[in-house]
Symmetry: C2
Subunit: 191 residues, 2 copies
């Protein structure tokens, strides 16, 4: 029982008390339900792997986006992790493909370019690829990674773009930080 509570408490957002409540709930479950939960955990870990094309997580040989012939393979959006990819999929606006880096360049944390899926990205560049959209987060590491990738990709003759930083929709200029205001001005477009 103590071990179960300890293991549950390691999950994000679950503290000691929540872990205890979950543990008691599991103890009171019918045996088959508890077995089903345990099996689901083991199987998920066993069957989930990285897509060999875009490096996103999948339980298939090739992920559903890379495998979809209707997605435009001429455009690749580079994201930090699968959650950012999921965020863009929710918008239902983007019809190209993705590439997941699994992190950003961060010398402080000892993460160099070799720890990211950059080799795999370079392997995907061909004459069919018209544009690489770099969609790393607009913070220090994300911008540094974007610059690094841009320098790497542009000599290969591919168009490299960066998603815009600016005032979020529904935002008020008065309450937006100075750097974002400056970026919104820099990224302005002709109407």
């Amino acid at each position: 029982m103590t071990r179960l509570i300890e293991e549950l408490a390691k999950l994000p957002g679950i503290g000691g008390k929540s872990a205890q409540r979950l543990a008691f709930h599991i103890i009171n479950m019918p045996t088959e339900n508890a077995a089903a939960l345990a099996e689901a955990i083991t199987n998920a870990k066993k069957s989930i792997k990285l897509c060999p094309v875009c490096c996103s997580i999948t339980d298939r040989d090739i992920c559903s986006i890379c495998d979809d012939p209707k997605r435009d393979s001429g455009v690749i959006m580079v994201v930090e992790d699968p959650r950012d990819m999921a965020a863009y999929e929710r918008t239902r606006e983007y019809r190209g493909r993705y590439h997941v880096l699994h992190g950003t360049i961060s010398p402080i944390n000892g993460i160099g370019p070799d720890k990211l899926k950059i080799k795999e990205l370079l392997g995907r560049i061909s004459s069919d690829v018209r544009e690489i959209i770099i969609a790393t987060n607009p913070n220090v590491e994300g911008e540094a990674t974007a610059m690094y990738l841009s320098r790497l990709l542009k000599p290969l003759g591919v168009k490299v773009t960066r998603i815009a930083s600016g005032v979020p929709i529904g935002g008020d200029l008065e309450y937006v930080d100075d750097v974002t205001l400056t970026k919104a001005l820099e990224y302005r477009t002709e109407m």
Copy 2:
């Protein structure tokens, strides 16, 4: 005393209790300090007027920005109110001029284009003006006002731009709303 509390409570962010506390503080002030406060209020209201050029508030004949020969008079940024202008001044990045609309087109609130300082903006368009940057807030009224101004200004042969909407600096794609993500993609720029 009751009248003083009532008047103070009309100020934004000051409720009944705060008004009472302020009123008691004023009562206990030396007479000359109370007189100075009253005079400052009267004078501010008397001396503050709209700049005849950009329609911002000023206590001079022409506001300090319109009067500054070092500011680029070829670029005019159109904002909703003087607070948005102050926000862009804080960035110290923008070296052009401003035009303050004093609101946005909002049919629901009965605010039509004639209630805004649009006539004054049109009066400023000359061959010296290279660009009008529309910096209304990225919400429904702000976007509608931007579209209206764009249709009005473009036939005059002036370049009209819009500040970018996108992911704010330091923001995380995962937690940004769908419309902002879509705009960040739409406004992407070549690196």
